[in-house]
């Protein structure tokens, strides 16, 4: 199988690590070769962060380059737009509609672009946008945005629900499992 590429993008501290852990577990269990690449250190301090997940028969490069992502999963709208050029021509964006102002916007040096979902669509991208923060809160914690997004992503995968549930069980602490199952379902069925 040709290597498939998933990018998880967001703002440092939003919980992308758990999402990539879930995907890593899920895809390894399916028998794929998997590589997951993260960035630690200064970039994590509220900056733009990206995690690459790649899987297939044999994966070489640990990173995803421009025009290669089958999926971009975004925790924040501006970050989806920032990484748009990494999407394949037929790729799919799954994004939360949450907006977090970066420092140049806070200080007034730049503006937060408006109507980003429409603009990405007119650029030719397939965009699935939903209010993941609201759904996460509905599930019981604002921190479950990552699992809401994974639930939504599962929508596009030809994998049985049990496979996702088993990986969820394997990586989420038992006391948060019910909450995360709910968050996953809310994202999937939104």
């Amino acid at each position: 199988m040709e290597t498939k590429n998933i990018m998880i993008v967001g703002v440092g501290g939003q919980g992308s690590l758990l999402a990539s852990k879930l995907l890593g577990h899920l895809l390894m269990e399916q028998g794929f070769d998997v590589k997951v690449s993260e960035v630690h250190g200064m970039s994590q301090r509220g900056g733009s962060v990206v995690t690459y997940v790649r899987y297939g028969d044999k994966v070489n490069s640990p990173v995803i380059d421009k025009g290669e992502a089958d999926y971009i999963v975004s925790f924040e709208l501006l970050e989806a737009a920032r990484w748009l050029s990494y999407l394949r021509p037929d790729g799919q964006i799954v994004t939360s509609t949450q907006q977090i102002d970066p420092m140049p916007v806070i200080t007034g040096a730049a503006g937060y672009p408006e109507n980003l979902v429409e603009k990405m669509r007119s650029a030719g991208a397939k965009v699935d946008a939903l209010d993941c923060l609201k759904l996460a809160e509905e599930a019981g914690s604002a921190k479950a945005v990552n699992i809401v997004l994974m639930g939504r992503l599962s929508h596009y995968f030809d994998l049985p629900d049990e496979a996702w549930q088993e990986s969820l069980k394997a990586i989420v602490p038992p006391k948060f499992l019910e909450l995360n199952k709910k968050a996953f379902a809310l994202g999937k069925n939104a």
Partner: protein
């Protein structure tokens, strides 16, 4: 059993399986997780040393005593530890000694882009260079075999994309090597001139033997290709990009050993292809070696010296199709890293900026004090340089600068290499002011303990060095502590100590707000009826405050109620948060 494992965790696993017993490291991105993962194995003693030189010497002592030892550091840490490294090349080892060094091409979290492979060549010690987690594990074990067989420390070179990528590994059991007897050997271990002169020929002979080993070692391998028009020599993560792009089209010589390089293997490979191409990140180490053999090749004339490579870059240079994507017309504002909401450094940097102080900075989270609107930093060079440089700055410009120049340095960086600079100020008498930003942790690398925190790498109680008596005993009479959340107190302290007729240390003390044990206050809120939109609160660059509809607005999910913004508000528009008294 196969596992998905971070490159750094795979190194730790390899150390464990090889029977490593002692690890001493200093944290530094992207090397930190090696030691953090190794500490999970009860068979290995692990510690954070005050700096890389101390760590390497501690590891050397352990190997001398007969147990397999290791130390890890980032690329610039190897500069600090270069002194023991070069002479350890001469002494060799007793039990195996491996040094992990992690480069950071692209500077995700570093102050330069130096290439550690130069050190292997310069110190005449072998270097292994894995390209994924499986190799990281395997090479860590191999490094011990080489170390003991050839009587040499071995460098294990990681880079960000190997260290911080997860890929599949196979685990094995630990082998427990017998403790090597320690035997006194003055000629081998006491490096004074008469002995070192006799060791140098051994070093040169060892390199020749290692080179012969490298000719047939499985870590250096030729992967056949269908088209011999181009042949690629590559290593590390560049190998992965080359394979991603070329597949089995062109033959590839994959070098797992970065030094010494196999002359015959390279010559034979070059002779089998029409156009030799070297693909390596950063400096032309392999390339220059090939050129020294008289081989014609394509290298840094085409590939950049700067930054990380990627599959698109390799595709473009080797004539394969390059992928492109869509863009929108709007400019996307950058999202640089920022000081966290409630960061204790913020208040102090605000005061330094307000008083137009020249700030000689250092390495840590607080380097973000250079970012607008705080912009309170004039220099950042390397660990400890703030204190040494403020002394030189003041010696050059005298009283004029002494009253408006400070050094700022974190607690961990101070213990790393700030103390000697402080001694220089006291000894050579400049009237310098040093501010220690004591947030009670090593912050930037992800909360590692250090000698001032009182806890070991495992979180157990440990020796604790108190900064106040330490600074006093280094010759400073004026040592005062201030709470950086209290702007007025910071302002007074900075002004008074700069005006004082003798050198002083200000300790700006408050623990990192991200520490789990730090209790935060309820978020503040702005009363829009009171806010006049003057933007005074925007001068501290807090990510929790924005102007919405002409009024300040606090993001309650980010605010930790530190109250610094409240102190800037002239109309008392902030409500809630920390209660008075």
């Amino acid at each position: 059993m196969k596992q998905l494992m971070l490159g750094n965790a795979a190194v730790a696993r390899g150390l464990y399986e090889a029977g490593c017993s002692v690890i001493s490291s200093y944290p530094g991105t992207p090397s930190t997780e090696i030691t953090e993962e190794a500490v999970k194995f009860p068979e290995i003693y692990c510690e954070w040393a005050p700096n890389e030189k101390v760590a390497m010497e501690a590891a050397f002592g352990a190997c001398l005593a007969g147990k397999r030892a290791f130390c890890a550091m980032k690329h610039v840490g190897l500069n600090v530890a270069a002194d023991p490294l070069f002479t350890m090349g001469y002494t060799g080892v007793n039990a195996g000694l491996v040094i992990g060094v992690a480069d950071d091409p692209g500077m995700h979290s570093s102050q330069n882009e130096q290439d550690s492979r130069h050190y292997a060549r310069a110190a005449k010690v072998p270097m292994l260079e894995p390209s994924d987690s499986a190799e990281a594990l395997e090479f860590a074990k191999l490094a011990y075999e080489l170390s003991e067989e050839f009587d040499t420390p071995v460098l294990l070179k990681m880079c960000t994309r190997v260290a911080h990528s997860q890929s599949l590994v196979e685990l094995s059991e630990r082998t427990e090597p017998a403790v090597k007897p320690y035997e006194k050997n003055i000629g081998k271990y006491v490096m004074m001139p008469g002995n070192a002169i006799r060791r140098h020929p051994f070093v040169e002979e060892r390199t020749r033997k290692l080179q012969a080993w490298a000719e047939t070692a499985p870590v250096n391998r030729v992967e056949p290709g269908t088209d011999h028009k181009i042949g690629v020599i590559t290593s590390s993560t560049s190998y992965q990009y080359v394979k991603e792009v070329c597949g089995d089209t062109y033959p590839v010589l994959k070098l797992g050993m970065a030094w010494p390089l196999p002359e015959k293997l390279i010559r034979d490979f070059a002779a089998s292809v029409t156009l030799l191409t070297v693909v390596e990140e950063l400096d032309p180490i392999i390339e220059n070696y090939c050129r020294s053999l008289g081989l014609a090749l394509v290298g840094k004339d085409v590939f950049p010296l700067e930054g990380e490579f990627s599959q698109n870059l390799v595709a473009e240079k080797l004539g394969f199709p390059v992928h492109t994507g869509k863009v929108i017309d709007d400019p996307i504002p950058p999202r640089p890293p920022v000081m966290c909401a409630g960061c204790p450094h913020r208040g102090l940097f605000y005061i330094l900026n307000k008083n137009k102080i020249t700030v000689l900075g250092d390495i840590g989270c607080y380097t973000l004090g250079a970012v607008a609107p705080l912009a309170a930093m004039d220099m950042t060079l390397c660990m400890g340089a703030s204190i040494s440089a403020v002394h030189g700055f003041n010696k050059a410009r005298g009283a004029e600068s002494e009253s408006k120049t400070v050094a700022v340095i974190g607690d961990s960086t101070f213990m790393h290499s700030g103390m000697t600079g402080l001694a220089n100020i006291a000894y050579n008498q400049s009237n310098s002011t040093v501010i220690i930003l004591d947030n009670s942790i090593t912050g930037m690398t992800g909360h590692q303990q250090n000698p001032t925190t009182g806890y070991s790498i495992k979180g157990d109680p440990a020796g604790k060095i108190d900064l106040e008596p330490l600074c006093r005993s280094l010759g400073f009479n004026r040592v005062r502590v201030v709470d950086p959340y209290d702007l007025k107190a910071c302002d007074t302290a900075v002004k008074e100590e700069l005006a004082a007729p003798e050198p002083s240390v200000i300790i700006s003390r408050r623990p990192c707000v991200l520490l789990k044990h730090v209790k935060t206050e309820p978020p503040l809120a702005v009363d829009p009826a009171k806010c006049v939109g003057c933007r005074s609160c925007m001068r501290i660059g807090c990510p929790a405050i924005a102007i919405k509809g002409g009024k300040a607005h606090v993001d309650a999910t980010l605010c930790v109620g530190c109250g610094v913004c409240e102190q800037l508000c002239g109309v008392k528009a902030f409500q809630g948060g920390k209660k008075e008294g």
